[in-house]
């Protein structure tokens, strides 16, 4: 694997995670429990799709085969996607959606903070723009996790169930491989394993405030960010997301 091949993989991992989560969150549009949350979720989804354009745009540039962000997003099949499994699991109820958002936002903010110091200026620039958006995402999702966790008996139970369902998808964020090693060596991106402590401290603080217990298990579903095996849910997302470009190739407005 050359350095550019590793860099291409790295950009796909970032862009595919923001793309798939952005799509998932956009599924709430018109369905959120209150209007204000509906708009807030749509804003988050749009931020993530905007970040996707930057990451996949850079991926196409690094690859050098003339593919742009749209082609990478809409014309690859499930096995070519490199998103975290966490981002593709179904929304569930509102509480589970926000718990997933929080678990992702916490990782995203910790990771982007390191990417600000990337030796590759293109990556540092994307991180600079994204980190402001993500700081707000994190503030909002953390607040909601606290409000629902430390809310009514029912909301507490739902958040407990959400955490139990989602926790096994957290470990994948910190499982490094050869791509990560190449990025770390080049000073482009951090070794993910080194971020776990900071992540656990941040997540632990919010969960404690939410009166939720942080699970001890380190069991982790893996296979999203290295493309080895996605969940069965990704294909369903792609049929929705890609059908227009598949049915009408090259369509634009």
């Amino acid at each position: 694997m050359t350095r550019d091949e590793a860099l291409f993989e790295f950009c796909l991992r970032m862009g595919d995670s923001t793309l798939v989560l952005g799509h998932r969150v956009s599924e709430w549009c018109g369905h959120a429990p209150v209007l204000e949350e509906d708009i807030a979720l749509a804003n988050t989804a749009l931020d993530l799709i905007g970040q996707t354009q930057l990451w996949l745009g850079l991926a196409g540039e690094v690859e050098g085969k003339g593919r742009d962000a749209d082609q990478l997003a809409f014309l690859r099949d499930a096995w070519d996607f490199r998103n975290l499994l966490l981002t593709e699991v179904p929304n569930g109820d509102f509480g589970r959606t926000l718990m997933r958002q929080f678990l992702f936002d916490a990782w995203h903010s910790v990771y982007l903070a390191r990417l600000l110091k990337s030796s590759d200026k293109r990556i540092a620039d994307i991180a600079e723009k994204a980190s402001k958006e993500v700081a707000y995402h994190l503030e909002r999702s953390a607040d909601t996790v606290v409000a629902l966790g430390d809310g009514t008996e029912e909301s507490h139970q739902r958040m407990e169930a959400a955490l139990a369902y989602l926790w096994p998808y957290v470990g994948e964020m910190f499982a490094g491989d050869a791509v990560d090693a190449a990025m770390a060596e080049a000073g482009i991106a951090p070794d993910p394993a080194g971020l776990r402590e900071e992540y656990d401290a941040l997540v632990g603080r919010v969960l404690a405030e939410a009166t939720l217990e942080m699970p001890e298990s380190r069991f982790a579903h893996k296979g999203g960010r290295n493309g080895a095996m996605h969940t069965e849910h990704l294909g369903h997302i792609l049929t929705q997301m890609q059908w227009l470009q598949r049915a009408y190739p090259g369509a634009s407005w």
Partner: protein, 94 residues
């Protein structure tokens, strides 16, 4: 409706605006969330640099039925409008 979030009135100061202007209202469980919701609902298109929220129940309003005694007396007093002066162009917008 005990389970409804209270109503908040939202005031936003625009980039070039001099004072906060009322832009609308929204529901939120507390002041902090009201500001976040206002950020998401009313500043999506770069409208503002400062947000105020106030719970609607804290706003005291004049009563529509008092319209006559409150406002009609001023209708006949045109001399209160500063339209009888020539304002030099150099003064600019007032």
């Amino acid at each position: 409706m005990k389970n409804e979030w209270p109503l908040w009135e939202v005031f936003i100061r625009g980039q070039h605006g001099m004072s906060h202007r009322h832009v609308g209202s929204l529901h939120a469980p507390d002041a902090e969330m009201a500001i976040k919701n206002a950020r998401d609902v009313y500043t999506r298109r770069n409208e503002g640099v400062s947000i105020w929220v106030v719970e609607a129940r804290h706003i005291a309003a004049s009563s529509p039925s008092d319209k006559g005694p409150l406002y009609e007396p001023s209708e006949s007093k045109v001399y209160r409008h500063p339209t009888f002066f020539d304002i030099p162009d150099e003064v600019g917008a007032m």
